[in-house]
Symmetry: C2
Subunit: 226 residues, 2 copies
Amino acid sequence: MHRVRVRVVEDALDANNTIARANRDDFDRFGVTVANLMGAPGAGKTALLERVLRELGGVRAGVLEGDVQGSLDADRLASLHVPVTQLQTSVGFGGECHLDANMVRSALPAIPLDEIDLLVIENVGNLVCPAEFRVGEDARVMVASVTEGEDKPLKYPLMFRACELVILNKVDLLPHVDFDVSKWSERLQTVHPGVAWMSMSARTGEGVDAFRDWLAALPERRLVEA
Amino acid sequence: MHRVRVRVVEDALDANNTIARANRDDFDRFGVTVANLMGAPGAGKTALLERVLRELGGVRAGVLEGDVQGSLDADRLASLHVPVTQLQTSVGFGGECHLDANMVRSALPAIPLDEIDLLVIENVGNLVCPAEFRVGEDARVMVASVTEGEDKPLKYPLMFRACELVILNKVDLLPHVDFDVSKWSERLQTVHPGVAWMSMSARTGEGVDAFRDWLAALPERRLVEA
């Protein structure tokens, strides 16, 4: 019985990877680079996008917004005049806690892939399951916040491992919370040795230029690597 | 095909409810009242327990700690000299993002039910899936934090609906974040009309007495209702 259950889970994972590759082929055909943005609820993913999306130089960006319900984040981003597509996961019982490759695939016809160079997929706020599902992206970015506590890399190691860049957000609150940045970064390096990370505040704008530059250079980096 | 898939999900939910009832029977047999504590990663669930568990008057408390990996929270709580049992969900692929009734059932033999009156189950940090699985508890408490943003009741309505008490934590940070408490509470009442809520700061201790009193009175309230 247990053996059968394991087999089903493996099949599901394989199906996800198969569809992720199909997504990737479509992104390649249109020359679109894709970043998957993950983090806990309230880490500041949308606020960061509000800061950086309008200043990407010549890079034409689009957003795919994953939410359990509603379109609050998509509405916020629509004012930036970048194409935003809303993907709701509430069709399942109670709502899915992550995006998978098939959900992203179902949204592809609604995304103007021929008009953009960079697609940012804002995942559902969650530190567990989004890390388990590739969706066809080139890079995964994880947003952590100083209000979440310095223990989070050790408590949710898969999420901190499953990304090419970690952003430490809300550093404007450092004087008001018990958070030791060097302790946090030590723990981050323990679970993901050598991973790039940068600190910033989406609220004050401090340090967000580094993330904007990283995003703006992503299409070029991808071409070099390919 | 779609029809079959839906049937499987319903079976899974029924199995969870069946096991939740079995858990509940065991809790009843030992006269143990159970609170299921939910919230996003970093909302302050463990910090709140550190504040209230040692001052519950004559009520003997125990804790079941649900985590994807590690025992950081259990280690923190063990210093309070209440019995703490650690339940790790990382046996699945990448780790389960919630506790279900069967996981709690598997932990029952390790919990000294004959020595406690109140069991607090600290769920995995997540605003989606924990709300979908009853585990045999008497009451569900949800911890939100002012750093998560005032939009969260609308974005994660099931979680805010699936509880008897909502705690708004980290109010010491209100002067430093953009968070309108009255706007948040309006949204909370929209998704869960009439739900009880209280605000506090686990960091400064402001307002935590109200939660301590609520927890300490839970076994008595349950007897009256039964």
